[in-house]
């Protein structure tokens, strides 16, 4: 037959068939009497673009969906995008800055308008790219984590967990990103090896001519010191019981405390304790009832507790304070030192451990059944080796810090009352009613309620994804959720096993009493010839 082209022309043929499949609505699925086969897409960042990792991941999903369809199942692949709170907000802030607009000069509403505009303009590019790959997604079912139904589902879940006593407000040491001005979860912090210095500082013993030498990599934090700690069995220091030392430069007097936490072998065996700026010091501070002095502003500059250094950036302050210490002859020595420093995954800024008030979700009881479901293979991991990673995480689970100091996301539905009490309600009206019921004598009106400024962690919406794409939080008995849930396979990257996979399993247990998917296929990371990661 002469009409067959001599060469295969992919471009023409791909466009032709994709259009025809779409025109004939062949990807669309509705519940019927056939066996369902369902995959929900790991929602990519709404303003992102396709990278090699997505290519591999979505190709695998398409292979599985197309095969299931050809096996006679009612196949449904639900696409959608994620609002990616921190990443998107950072992009919008950067774009506004280019235009000479600072976020702090905008109201929340104005900023969100810019953010939505950005989303409309750049959103969905990635879905168009998926179409080029041939992805047989049911595009009629495209969802976005910030659209009304999904937003509302997140708020419903927050209220429900709060009412169950699982969500609480706590002062915690968080990983603070001084550039993005938000708290990060532990998983969003990347540790990098760095050449640093170890400074040996001389703390004079009060009323004596002797010194205690303390090693630190962060000499600027002496401004927040509230003790010096040594090991109770360290003979070098046993004569110092009950004594105080004087902090160099600022000459504040702090006690010497004794605790087994100190490693006798490290540095000189004496540690400076700065409860506001180090997680271990914070714990020690609680134990020994020490004050905590927070010396930093949110952007990483020194606040009024920085005394003569206030207003300086943390790194400039380090230089200056070292110079001052040397001039005062209180620097014993400086050594080169390699340590690991936590950096923000998104902005690359060095993380500042910081005490702040955040919202937390209690995880311990929620994690147990979710661990069991994977241990007993109710949910299977492929390859199974990732069960170990999963187990390790679930057995050492920490409470989840779910608040973020951002505007692009689901705003926390907690309202502060003039009497400093908090009410949590789906709407301001509902919250007002709760406030009125709780404090009938106060005659509160709607203007007395002040909503929390923070939004929820993005994962607090994506953990509901397999349920919320079918509107199963708001309408738990609708025909879609009953037919497609539990879904069959989830295809994702091992690096978000905890961020996402574990939490979906938890949400599934809590809100459907059912697993979210039967199998988890964990893909590899696509690397180039030099072994570098090709995503991001």
């Amino acid at each position: 037959m002469s009409e067959i082209a001599t060469k295969y022309e992919p471009k023409l043929i791909e466009d032709k068939w994709y259009k025809e499949w779409m025109d004939k609505n062949l990807f669309h699925s509705e519940p019927d009497e056939r066996e369902p086969y369902c995959i929900v897409i790991p929602p990519p960042n709404v303003t992102g673009i396709l990278h090699m990792g997505h290519m591999l991941n979505n190709t695998i999903q398409d292979v599985l969906v197309r095969r299931a369809r050809m096996e006679g199942k009612n196949a449904c692949w639900v696409p959608g995008t994620d609002h990616a709170s921190i990443a998107t907000e950072a992009k919008v802030v950067a774009k506004l800055r280019e235009e000479g607009i600072e976020k702090k000069d905008l109201t929340r509403e104005e900023f969100l308008e810019h953010a939505w505009e950005w989303k409309e303009k750049h959103g969905g590019i990635i879905l168009e790219q998926l179409k080029k790959l041939g992805a047989s997604c049911d595009w009629e079912r495209t969802r976005f984590t910030m659209e009304e139904a999904l937003y509302e589902s997140v708020i419903d879940v927050f209220c429900d967990l709060y009412n169950k006593g699982l969500i609480y407000r706590g002062i915690r040491m968080v990983n603070w990103d001084p550039q993005a001005l938000t708290a990060l979860s532990d998983e969003e912090v990347i540790f990098k090896e760095q050449n640093s210095k170890l400074y040996y500082l001389k703390y004079k013993i009060e009323g004596e001519d002797e010194f205690v030498i303390v090693a630190t990599t962060r000499p600027e934090t002496i401004l927040g010191d509230t003790a010096v700690c040594v090991h109770p069995e360290d003979k070098r220091y046993s004569h110092l019981k009950g004594k105080n030392v004087i902090i160099p430069i600022i000459n504040r007097v702090v006690p010497i405390i004794f605790d087994e936490y100190v490693d006798k072998e490290f540095g000189t065996g004496a540690l400076k304790i700065t409860p506001a700026h180090d997680i271990n010091d914070y714990t020690l501070g609680l134990k020994h009832k020490l004050d905590s002095i927070d010396i930093f502003n949110d952007n990483g500059t020194l606040n009024e507790h920085g005394l003569q250094y206030s207003g300086m950036d943390r790194f400039a302050c380090r230089k200056k304070i070292c110079k001052d210490i040397e001039e005062a002859d209180l620097m014993h020595k400086i050594e080169d030192y390699i340590n690991k420093i936590g950096c923000s995954e998104r902005t690359d800024a060095i993380i500042e451990p910081k005490l702040s008030v955040q919202w937390f979700l209690k995880m311990e009881d929620l994690a147990k059944p979710a661990l069991e479901l994977v241990e007993n293979d109710t949910i299977k991991f492929h390859p199974a080796k990732f069960k170990n990673t999963y187990r390790h995480w679930m057995e050492n689970v920490k409470d989840w810090c779910i608040s973020r100091q951002l505007w692009w996301g689901q705003r926390i539905p907690a309202y502060y009352l003039p009497n400093r009490e908090i009410v949590v309600g789906k709407t301001k009206e509902e919250a007002l009613k709760l406030a009125q019921d709780k404090f009938p004598n106060q005659n509160y009106t709607i203007n007395d309620l002040k909503q929390d400024e923070d939004v929820l962690d993005t994962w607090f919406s994506s953990w509901l994804w397999p349920i919320s794409v079918f509107d199963g939080i708001r309408y738990p008995d609708n025909k879609d959720i009953k037919y497609y849930y539990p879904t069959n396979d989830l295809v994702t990257a091992p690096e978000i096993l905890f961020f996402w996979v574990a939490r979906m399993i938890i949400a599934g247990e809590e809100y459907r009493n059912e697993i979210p998917f039967k199998n988890v296929y964990l893909t590899g990371i696509v690397r180039d010839k030099l072994g570098r990661k090709m995503s991001k």
Partner: protein
Amino acid sequence: MLMASPAGNDLLFDENYCEQGRNFSNKIWNALRLVKGWEIADIEQPQHSKIAINWFKEKLNETLIELEDDFSKYRLSESLMRAYKLVWDDFCSWYLEIIKPQYQKPIDKETLNQTIIIFEDLMKVLHPFMPFLTEEIYHILKERQEDDYIMLAQMPKTNESKSTIISDFAFAQEKISGIRQVRNEKNIAQKIDLELYIKETESENKEFDGIITKLCNLSTIEYIKDKKEGALSLMVGTTEMYIPLGDTINKEEEIKKLEADLKYLEGFKISVNKKLSNEKFVGGAPQQVIDNEKKKLSDAEQKIVSITEQLKSLV
């Protein structure tokens, strides 16, 4: 790309993967052009085509069962590799070569029909991996109804087969490879006919002789009781085969080549022997390494015997 990336393993991205995919698409496209380019004639179906169709259907069935197993275990890269081999090796390199009519000759109707059915099944197997190409070919292979799309088609059904045709044919494939290797080594052009003599054994399966004749361009296959003198011999499994080379090759050159091979092998044998008589080596090396050396030695000895015999028959 998928092929290089089993679940949970990192993948090194290489542009060669894209090229591999492109080559595969072109291979399939060319197969399509070949099949759709044949003229049909009302002629009898050759026996070798009939057998090839039987064999391929069994092979397809076997592969489909293996693919089901791969998918149930989420071994996606293995499944793609399996489908790739089925199309490239079994279908293009073997099946099509067997049924292909001679240049500018027509094909019989039955073989063509069966080939189109097979081609269609292969496209279904490949569809999840290559959605566009397979849909295009599905529509070129046959006129389709308005709403007939490969993406909605059902996977070919499998059956429990007890046939031994796959292993029997595998043996014939070994024979063919052996004969082709002789052609290569002796530089005998494809168009020159060869005669093949096979020392008959009780279990000899002659079913595939037509295929062997066609693919190796043989003038005859004869079964004999004794060794054929003055012919090159080769072993496939326990079957001894003889190919008289006569004037198809340059005797002097061949003798030179064989003598050079012989010299090399004898030198090799001496060096392996030395190694094996070195107590330090034998005492220190793992058993596996020693066994390996011993095997090298016996292989070399066998080859020396065979080359010596060949030389004798040439002189």
